[in-house]
Amino acid sequence: MKNLEEQIRDASSLDALSRVRIELFGKKGALSKEFAKLKDVPGPEKKAFAEGLNRQKAHLQDVYDTCYETLKKEEIERLLKAQAIDVSLYSNLNEKGALHPVMTTMDKIIDYFVALNFSIEDGPKVEDDFHNFEALNLPKNHPARDMQDTFFFRDKAVLRTHTSPVQIRTMLAQKPPIRMIAPGAVFRKDYDITHTPMFHQVEGLVVGETGEVSFANLKSIMSDFLHYMFGEVEVRFRPSFFPFTEPSAEVDISCIFCKAEGCRVCSHTGWLEVLGCGIVDQNVFDAVNYKDVSGYAFGLGVERFAMLLHKIPDLRMLFEGDTRLLEQFR
């Protein structure tokens, strides 16, 4: 019997073990032979003999199970080893593309205003003089028209120079209260390191009954928005001038590059100009025939925000589908 146990233990593979199993536990196996002897054992000893045999059988079964487990493990281990892969070879496969940083910046801006229940509005890129200038308190020959180099068409239409005409379209189509943003491409005839003939703006407009919407509201929302975009920065308001708002302000944030110490990006002032805003001029409301309302408007350049947020050095690169830049955003 000892010998049988050794046979089990000696099996070096699952195959060998399986052969031993037949020899031991099979119908004609060693154990069957032992049990056959039972009939020759005299009556009084039969019980003890059978018990002894069953104990032995159980012990051998235990040994067998243990060996089987061990060999099975070894077998699987061997199989797995044979399929081993250097997984590190499959790092960074670059199979995902990148969203454009200008568009993701625009997304981020839109998310903020949508959360504040602003609607998103849109208008045509090819505009007429009324919507792009006249209704925005920019009559013909107004010096502020010079600031916006305009693309003209033969039929006197223009490419919109700002997203502000969407304000006019929305006010003409809807009744107050209005709370909207207009994101989109705008066009100016200017092409150098800091200007491209097309860029993107997000324009905002809030209109309510007289006295409901004030400069103080504008201040609160602009500060909050800039903190959402740029984190812990200081926000500063400076009086400025835009034809369609009065009072007007330009808004600066403390320079995010030099912690307001002064650097090249902020022209050593410690401040970065990021948006313009103001109380809507009564002439604009007159142009759309709104009565007894007040409102504020704001506008910002998306490329400027994207360049500041992501420290992108070159504006023109943004419009060339340059994958050397884009792939960094994958």
Partner: protein, 777 residues
């Protein structure tokens, strides 16, 4: 607009105002500080007095000077030509450091000892004011030999550049900025008054007369002077150099200096050459010429008031007799005149069109003061002038309205004080409303909102308490917002399929569009003033822009470029629509161990799968497009909801050659067709279905879309789905091909039986046989 601290000192006492406070105030009142330069002159640079000056025995160009520097007399060798004219100069004494590693030491120049250096302006870090050394004069203050130059604040000045908004013409002068600062800092503004001390004995009226023809919407004032010994003092040179306006002509410098200081528009005409008979007067005629004011002097046109003047009659420092003209014209009238008549303008138009100083006497007085203090010129007594009749502009201010616009409560008394400080005339009343007379130099103030802006400026926006907006209205989700989110998810799917997002200009090159047979904007609707010929029209496809972007990337050694853009294109009537365009060029996947660094080039198969991962299901049918990107054998119309919504093609080899592209595929799809559709779920069968493969032999050229259409039209109730799974062609089949279609047959009501299955299969077979001669293989 550039100003300096000491220049402001003429009109406002800034002694108690630090530079930081000054910058902060300028910014907060809307005069944005763009640039600051605080000049300092290094220690040990002192005022020196040249006692003698001799030629160096061994060097023609050198002079040996004996210079008193207060603490003693030094011998200094100087190479500047103008040292011979100089009395007082800036001397860098031994030990002075003029730069990081430039310290003045004892030196020997061609054998002669030299103890110090006579400096030019630029050597002291000041702007360049001309060749040679800087000759000091009393314009910068009393010259005390040995005094440190840095103590002369007019030299070591602070130069501030402010950016003015288009409405603030009143701040285009030192006086104007001082006036605004005075209101904000509550420091009084110094009045400038001067009366001629020593005029010519003859009155101006005796030698000249003014004739006016028509109604003149302008104010003009003339002065006449006999000129003598005009020069540009050191202070003027330096200040004009600070504002980048220093010229070589002393008269022009004087004019510029006065206009920059006072804001009054000043021109000078040479009238010395006009020969006048005895008793004949200099005749100045102002003539209304369709609104433009022509200035005609002795029958010759000299200028168009506020716009430009004739160059030839412009006075210079050599002119012996000069007629000075100060003028003011309403900027709105002026800009309209110029635009309507397309007039050429000169540099002063920048000031006149933004609103120059209307107080002309101020300009004339300042001129008189300068000429009499610094030259021997003499002015004729009195002046002749025309004053436009201008009504005072009065605005009614309602305190409540101002407070509502600002959103903070501001007491009426504060509003009135601010306006008074700004030199608005306030009529006090008992109630909420009061009238305000606007000073004539503030042509930009017209209504209550303008007044509110003044209040905001003076309080400082940063001192206005922010208040959150209260919500009262319902949600604002509209179709534009839905469209935006549809676009956003489309973009992230495109990125998931390996495409980079691109933005290109909405412009295109007309020649390129024509070359590849894309539509062109109707000639009558095209851009008149394109920026370059590459962008001379609006794009009618995104694909040309994307192809150009790929070309650039290939030039940067990229082997795989996949880009997409969602953007606006235009049809020939300039109607706008948005499309999704994709381009894939080069390798189909990354180079990595899985492909031994040799990925297969992109194929129709791979591209179409990527497209499907982005936009979902679509049907492809033989292409009907006629643009020349189309490759006739690998191109298709994209059908979505039974409508042709775009196209897909392998780019034609000719185009690949034009742009040096690898194998390239493109697709352009109407965004409209991609917006999410509402879907109703259909019943799902509880019973098992079976797959049946149908292998058919059909004509080689028969497109699968015809077969699928035919099967679709049968509308078999048990046919739950079908699709092509194999196409096979070989020599034996000749002009035919084998096509395997997999059918999925399933009933909604019952377990399938063989009879039902056979019926479905046979109906299809029969129909395809009748229509296309298809037979089972």
């Amino acid at each position: 607009m550039i100003l300096t601290r000491t220049w402001l000192d003429i009109f406002i006492d800034l002694k108690k105002v630090s530079n930081e406070k000054l910058y902060e105030t300028l910014n907060s009142i809307g005069l944005e500080v763009d640039n600051i330069k605080e000049y300092t002159i290094p220690p040990k640079v002192v005022v020196g007095k040249i006692l003698s000056c001799e030629k160096h025995p061994d060097a023609d160009k050198l002079n040996i000077c004996q210079i008193d520097i207060g603490s003693g007399i030094r011998q200094i060798v100087c190479g500047a030509k103008n040292v011979v004219d100089a009395e007082y100069v800036a001397v860098a004494t031994v030990g002075a450091k003029l730069g990081e590693d430039f310290e003045i030491k004892h030196a020997k120049l061609r054998g002669v000892d030299s103890e110090g250096m006579v400096c030019s302006a630029s050597e002291l870090g000041l702007p360049d004011i001309g060749d040679g050394i800087m000759i000091l004069d009393e314009s910068i203050g009393e010259l005390i030999v040995g005094r440190e130059l840095n103590e002369y604040k007019k030299l070591a000045d602070t130069v501030i550049e402010i950016e003015l908004t288009a409405n603030r013409g009143d701040c285009l002068s030192i006086h104007g900025v001082a006036r605004d600062l005075s209101a904000s800092l509550k420091i009084p503004l110094n009045r400038f008054d001067y009366e001629s001390q020593n005029p010519e004995k003859i009155g101006l009226a005796r030698v000249s007369k003014l004739i006016v023809k028509g109604k003149i919407d302008a104010s003009v004032q003339y002065a006449l002077a006999n000129m003598e010994e005009l020069y540009t003092s050191l202070l003027f040179s330096l200040r004009l150099a600070f504002i980048d306006e220093l010229q070589s002509d002393a008269l022009k410098n004087t004019l510029k200096y006065i206009t920059h200081t006072t804001g009054v528009i000043l021109r000078a005409y040479d009238v010395g050459h006009i020969k006048l008979e005895e008793d004949e007067k200099l005749t100045i005629k102002l003539e209304n010429n369709r609104g433009i004011v022509d200035v005609i002097i002795n029958d010759k046109l000299y200028s168009k008031l506020g716009i430009t003047h004739v160059q030839e009659i412009e006075a210079t420092e050599k002119s012996s007799r000069v007629l000075f003209e100060t003028s003011y014209m309403n900027p709105t009238i002026l800009t309209n005149l110029v635009a309507e008549n397309r007039l050429e303008t000169d540099e002063l138009f920048y000031n006149t069109s933004r609103g120059s100083e209307p107080n002309l006497c101020f300009g004339i007085n300042y001129l008189t003061y300068l000429l009499e203090s610094y030259t021997k010129s003499k002015l004729f007594e009195g002046n002749i002038s025309l004053d436009e009749e201008r009504e005072d502009k009065i605005v009614t201010v309602c305190t409540t309205e101002v407070c509502q616009l600002i959103g903070n409560d501001i007491p009426k008394i504060n509003i009135m004080t601010i306006l008074t400080d700004l030199r608005f005339k306030v009529q006090s009343t008992a109630d909420d409303k009061f009238g305000v007379t606007i000073p004539n130099y503030r042509h930009d103030i017209e209504n209550i909102q303008d007044i509110t802006e003044e209040i905001v400026r003076m309080i400082g926006i940063n001192n206005i308490e922010a208040k959150p907006l209260e919500f009262k209205e319902s949600q604002r989700i509209n179709s534009t917002m839905e469209r935006y989110y549809a676009k956003k998810s489309l973009r992230s799917r495109a990125v998931g399929a390996g495409f980079d997002e691109s933005i290109s200009y909405a412009f295109s090159d007309k020649l390129l569009l024509a070359k590849y047979n894309f539509p062109l904007i109707d000639e009558k609707l095209d851009i008149i003033n394109p920026i370059t010929s590459d962008f001379n029209t609006l794009r009618t496809t995104l694909l040309i822009n994307l192809i150009q972007a790929v070309e650039r990337n290939i030039n940067y050694s990229k082997k795989r470029v996949a880009l997409f853009e969602i953007g606006t294109i235009f049809d020939n009537n300039r109607k706008e629509r948005e499309v999704l365009s994709l381009i894939y060029s080069g390798q189909s996947e990354t180079e990595y161990v899985g492909n031994a660094g040799k990925p297969k080039p992109i194929t129709f198969d791979i591209f179409v799968k990527k497209l499907s991962a982005i936009i979902g299901n679509f049907e492809l049918r033989a292409s009907t497009k006629d643009n020349l990107l189309i490759n006739p054998y690998q191109s298709a119309d994209i059908i979505i909801n039974n409508e042709v919504s775009g196209f897909i093609t392998k780019v034609h080899p000719n185009v690949c050659e034009d742009f040096n592209l690898f194998d390239t595929f493109v697709a352009e799809i109407d965004f409209e067709a991609l917006s999410p559709k509402h879907i109703n779920a259909h019943t799902i069968s509880k019973f098992q279905g079976v797959y049946k493969d149908l292998s058919l032999v059909v004509d080689k050229h028969l497109p699968y879309s015809h077969i699928s259409n035919t099967i679709q039209l049968l509308d078999l109730p048990l046919l739950s789905n079908f699709y092509a799974v194999d196409v096979y062609e070989d020599k034996e089949l000749g002009e035919e091909k084998s096509l395997t279609i997999r059918l999925f047959i399933q009933s909604l009501e019952d377990t399938l039986n063989d009879k039902d299955i056979d019926y479905t299969v046979n109906t299809i077979l029969e129909k395809l046989h009748n229509e296309y001669g298809a037979k089972l293989r």
